[in-house]
Symmetry: C2
Subunit: 333 residues, 2 copies
DNA sequence: CTGAAAGCGCTTACAG
DNA sequence: CTGAAAGCGCTTACAG
């Protein structure tokens, strides 16, 4: 435990220069003669000097911290997104202030406020369910660059990155229809913009076939494993002849797989099931899940890239990235 | 975008007091008369004052940021641990600087260094595989409170929180043995302290029964879904008569479940399988996984609690938390 | 090519 | 109960 960490002044004294010179050397300024710079660097090493970022940022009014708020880290989809975001941000020299809000709007306000106090250089937000669009204005009024990801917040001028939910579900549903199923259910999920978009894709696929949409075939539930499990049990009970369904997301599909297994039904032979997201786990589930691939980790990287761009160019026009969705057929459909 | 954010000086002017008074009021000092305090608060609100934490911390040499470094966020086990850590830390008024190192020791050094520059109030570290014990000394020399979690780094005086790996696997293996299996395999995982401990539990259980340990029954692989999948396929190929195995962790067990399913084998009837960790997913896998419960999220909270305690009392003696392991039987064994 | 000076926004003794 | 003053560790014009 070093009693007292050396400052720029100590280094200056050691190297026989002024602290201005030390500061310049430390940031690699070409203004300082090589010989002097070497002397300063040696002194810094000798004293075990550590840059005090806080002080530097206070003075320069800069920041290298970016806040990212996630709601449901227990869902691997978000964990993968976070990994992508973190990678991109760290590569760009930032540090991430991570907060988990478990869909709690109040907590979300609190952590956002805290990120503001920390003087975050930017904020990446996947809004908690029921988040008011007013947060957008609030954050913008703070002058902090923001990019919203996954769940959009309706029309507005904010940057956004998300998956092509509607088209993805359209593809999945169409695939099931093409495979000969006359009736296909929609399973899991229950509210929020993403749900609405996915359900829309489902409806459009039906429509394209001249099929009529029926509420009876949508089985709402939490977008979680348990939710998918319960929804599938309900489906099996109420619609015993239904043999195909597209799920709100992969995690719900896993729950459905579990429910199917319990009844001795084999996904892919007794029941056709499609997931959504293509989280890593789908490749080795039992059985491997057919799903819609939106490349979660890459999506996270893209979202972060947008924020980085916005920080660089605050005046740029609105940026939006929609991750293309493609069918990934494995064994469940 | 407010042109210029108000400072304590602006508030002081607005309220007709000195900035010292404002500072005191803002931190709720009882020194200031109620009436004055109210006036200051009103002024702060009126001006939209935002506390500049950076400045305050520079002056007071304090910090409310805690660094947490995770290696494999793609493994839900770690995601759950992180959720526990984050919850505890945020509840205590801290902010988390999260870094993901994907088992890259070099990157780990880099992020650790960065946390130091940020003047982190503490660090929670789950060391990347092959991390040298020297990091411990390094971090300690920085004077930053540290708690290591999940993977311990050998003997030393650092605080630590992890699961009872040895006993947990002992229980799982014994359960399989008690169920009548004469031979049980050990599947997945391949290096690191945790692996060693778990394998040790396996050996002890064998020993307690007078059974001899054979390398032939351990199937190494990455501690991931793919790893478990591959290990199970190897097992099935090389030891067709083996009908039971304990897995290195839940995620490997999922991969094994997938491999079993592919061969038309039903876990729990054709093959007995035990996982380890009890991540949320196990409750609704196909079929639901029997596992060893070490309460991941709570473990994360406990680990964070240790760091908090250490920050409060730097001189306290070594703190260690070992999450008790208990058998959780579902359908695979 | 390098130094002296001012200042970022706060906190903390110290007076009164 | 409140104010004046010093200072946290840096950066950034400005001189020279």
């Amino acid at each position: 435990m070093t009693s007292r960490t050396a400052t720029i002044i100590d280094v200056a004294a050691e190297a026989n220069v002024s602290k201005s010179t030390v500061s310049l050397v430390l940031k690699g300024s070409p203004l300082i003669k090589g010989e002097t710079a070497d002397r300063v660097k040696a002194a810094a090493i000798k004293l075990g000097y550590v840059y005090n970022r806080r002080a530097g940022e206070l003075r320069g009014n800069s920041s290298n911290a970016i806040g990212v708020v996630i709601n449901d880290l227990m869902n691997p989809f978000f964990a993968e997104i976070l990994v992508g975001i973190e990678r991109k941000l760290v590569d760009a020299g930032y540090v991430v202030l991570m907060a988990h809000t478990r869909e709690d709007v109040g907590l979300q306000d609190k952590v956002l406020q805290s990120m503001r106090e920390q003087n975050a250089a930017g904020i990446m937000l996947c809004p908690a369910l029921n988040t008011s669009r007013a947060v957008l204005k609030t954050i913008q009024s703070w002058g902090i660059p923001l990019t919203v990801f996954i769940r959009n917040l309706g029309p507005g001028s904010y940057d956004f990155a998300g998956g092509d939910s509607e088209h993805g579900v359209f593809l999945a549903t169409t695939h099931l229809l093409n495979s000969g199923y006359r009736e296909v259910g929609f399973l899991g999920g229950q509210k929020g913009v993403v749900f609405t978009q996915r359900l829309q894709g489902y409806k459009k696929a039906l429509q394209a076939r001249g099929l009529v949409f029926s509420e009876d075939l949508v089985f709402n539930a939490n977008p979680s494993r348990v939710g998918g499990y319960e929804a599938m049990n309900k489906l099996l009970l109420k619609r015993p002849r239904l043999k195909a369904a597209v799920c709100y997301n992969d995690v719900a599909a896993f729950g459905a797989l579990s429910a199917l297994g319990e009844k001795g039904l084999r996904a892919g032979v007794d029941f056709a099931l499609m997931g959504f997201d293509n989280i890593l786990d789908t490749a080795h589930s039992n059985p491997p899940l057919s799903t819609v691939d939106i490349h979660p980790t890459e999506l996270g990287e893209r979202a972060a890239a947008i924020l980085l761009q916005r920080i660089k160019d605050p005046g740029a026009k609105r940026m939006v990235y929609t991750a293309p969705a493609s069918l990934l057929l494995r064994q469940t459909a």
